[in-house]
């Protein structure tokens, strides 16, 4: 019995459902290690595997409907949904900030819309659901990570550096002047992972977009073109969402008299 479907023309072999079932062995290995070592996370690990299966099944079904029926507008609405969820996740990491959700939604929304918009307007990617949704997903994910890191870094600075910030305010500096160093540090910190990924892409592991395309039978020298676009778009999305997150957050930290709001320390 073969667990793999015979390759179709122009595409690599895709596991069938029997193949997926066989891969549960890998979850079993992870669970056995957790159980044997008494890590206390076996149940959580198994539940995560079940959740992943169900969620991906649901997403796969939804995307099938989306690609067949919804068109570009439906794809953009789907991306809007992803931005909404991403904003909640990013805001959750910086709960101490005032208006954290609003900040996260604005930052991720601007980063995603601008990056995706440029790619569509320049004709780099086709305006088709089957392209826009996966590319949009990657952009949202990159924007979310950058916004989250920026907001968390700025929240920490505002809580821990209060004496220094107030010393600057007491010299007559504006809130922007008093906070400038922490603003820059927050943005820089959020961009470093995107820059590092770009530096080492392909050297440590084949990145996801390229891997998917190669598995689908696309020649490597064509697959890398997509990957290059992906790396550049992730840089732009990270930079845009980070700077917007930093600016919006900075404004929400100070009141009308340029006083720093009291924040709880970041956990």
């Amino acid at each position: 019995m073969t667990l793999l479907v015979a390759p179709t023309a122009g595409s690599a072999a895709i596991p069938d459902w029997l193949g997926v079932a066989a891969s549960i062995v890998l979850v079993g290995i992870a669970a056995a290690i957790a159980l044997r070592q008494r890590l206390g996370i076996t149940r959580e690990l198994l539940w995560a595997a079940v959740r992943a299966f169900v969620q991906l099944l649901a997403v796969g079904a939804a995307l099938t409907i989306l690609f067949n029926r919804a068109g570009l507008l439906g794809s953009l609405l789907w991306i809007g949904g992803m931005v909404t969820i991403a904003g909640l996740v990013a805001a959750g990491r910086a709960r101490t900030l005032p208006h954290a959700r609003r900040t996260a939604w604005i930052a991720i929304g601007v980063g995603t819309a601008t990056t995706l918009g440029i790619l569509l307007v320049l004709g780099v990617i086709a305006p088709e659901p089957v392209v826009v949704v996966p590319v949009g997903g990657m952009v949202v994910s990159g924007a979310m990570t950058a916004a989250s890191m920026t907001m968390r870094g700025i929240a920490a600075a505002a809580a821990e550096q209060r004496p220094a910030i107030e010393a600057r305010l007491s010299l007559g500096q504006t809130s922007a002047q008093a906070f400038e160093a922490y603003f820059r540090s927050g943005v820089r910190m959020a961009l470093v992972p995107a820059i590092d990924s770009t530096k080492v892409v392909g050297l440590i592991a084949l990145p996801g977009a390229m891997t998917g395309l190669i598995l689908a039978g696309v020649p490597p020298l064509e697959a890398i073109r997509y990957q290059i676009v992906v790396m550049y778009m992730l840089l732009a999305a990270a930079a845009l969402s980070s700077i917007v997150a930093a600016r919006v957050t900075e404004r929400s930290l100070f009141d009308d008299a340029d006083r720093l709001h009291r924040l709880e320390p970041v956990a």
Binding site: P163, A164, S170, L171, Q173, A257, D258
Partner: protein, 223 residues
């Protein structure tokens, strides 16, 4: 331009998290003199100080600076005229010169030297690493930093609490010299002996209320 009147406050109340930090404080602060605000821990002294440069705003009541309501001023201009030096000195730059240039980037070395002279730090080079300075030296450097914007008033929160006696006496001398030059100083202190030596006027706060006021000789709290 010298102040005609420093501060006047009327029925000032400040509430925070359901608690009254200041409860109906009314009085005034004399110009070109040292006013000490004393009282037990939690009496509202530091909060009172922070009202004077609008790092806090009262919940109700009126505050005036140089004859005008405090919130009539542009807040940044107010904070340049009313400088605040916090209890624990915070260094904002790595060298003495850079520290003095935080608020005034165009400050030259000559003016920096004059300011260091005013706070008795002339023996230190402008290139000196601020992290290597003692607590007393950092406190005086913070004073010099506050003076770079030519304030009319200096608010000092426990200026000598973390200092040894010698450093504290140096800060006392600096404060007397600044007032002799026409500055108004408002300081918060737990050190009642020091207050008796340095202050011209004393305000005593207890649980947010002004319970006593007068010269150091008149105020029983200092006995």
């Amino acid at each position: 331009m010298p102040l005609t009147e420093a501060f006047a406050f009327e029925s000032v109340v400040l509430e925070r998290d359901g608690r009254r930090i200041l409860d109906g404080v009314s009085d005034h602060i004399h110009a070109a003199a040292t006013t000490a605000v004393v009282g037990s821990s939690g009496s509202g002294k530091s909060t009172f100080l922070r009202l004077l440069n609008r790092l806090e705003d009262p919940t109700s009541g009126r505050l005036r600076f140089d004859g005008r309501p405090l919130d009539d001023y542009d807040v940044h201009e107010l904070r340049r005229r009313v400088g605040l030096v916090a209890q624990r000195p915070v260094m904002l730059a790595t060298t003495v010169l850079a520290e003095l240039q935080v608020a005034v980037p165009e400050l030259d070395e000559q003016r920096a030297g004059v300011l260091l002279g005013r706070v008795a730090l002339t023996e230190h080079s402008l290139d000196r690493d601020t992290a290597s300075m003692s607590g007393g030296e950092q406190q005086r450097l913070s004073l010099a930093r506050a003076l770079t914007v030519n304030p009319d008033v200096l608010l000092l929160d426990e200026p000598t609490s973390a200092l040894d006696e010698r450093a504290a006496m140096a800060v006392d001398r600096v404060i007397r010299d600044l007032v002799d030059d026409g500055l108004t100083v408002v300081l918060v202190s737990h050190d009642l002996d020091r207050v008796a030596d340095v202050a011209h006027h004393v305000l005593v706060l207890e649980r947010g209320r002004l319970v006593e006021r007068g010269t150091p000789r008149d105020v029983r709290y200092l006995d």
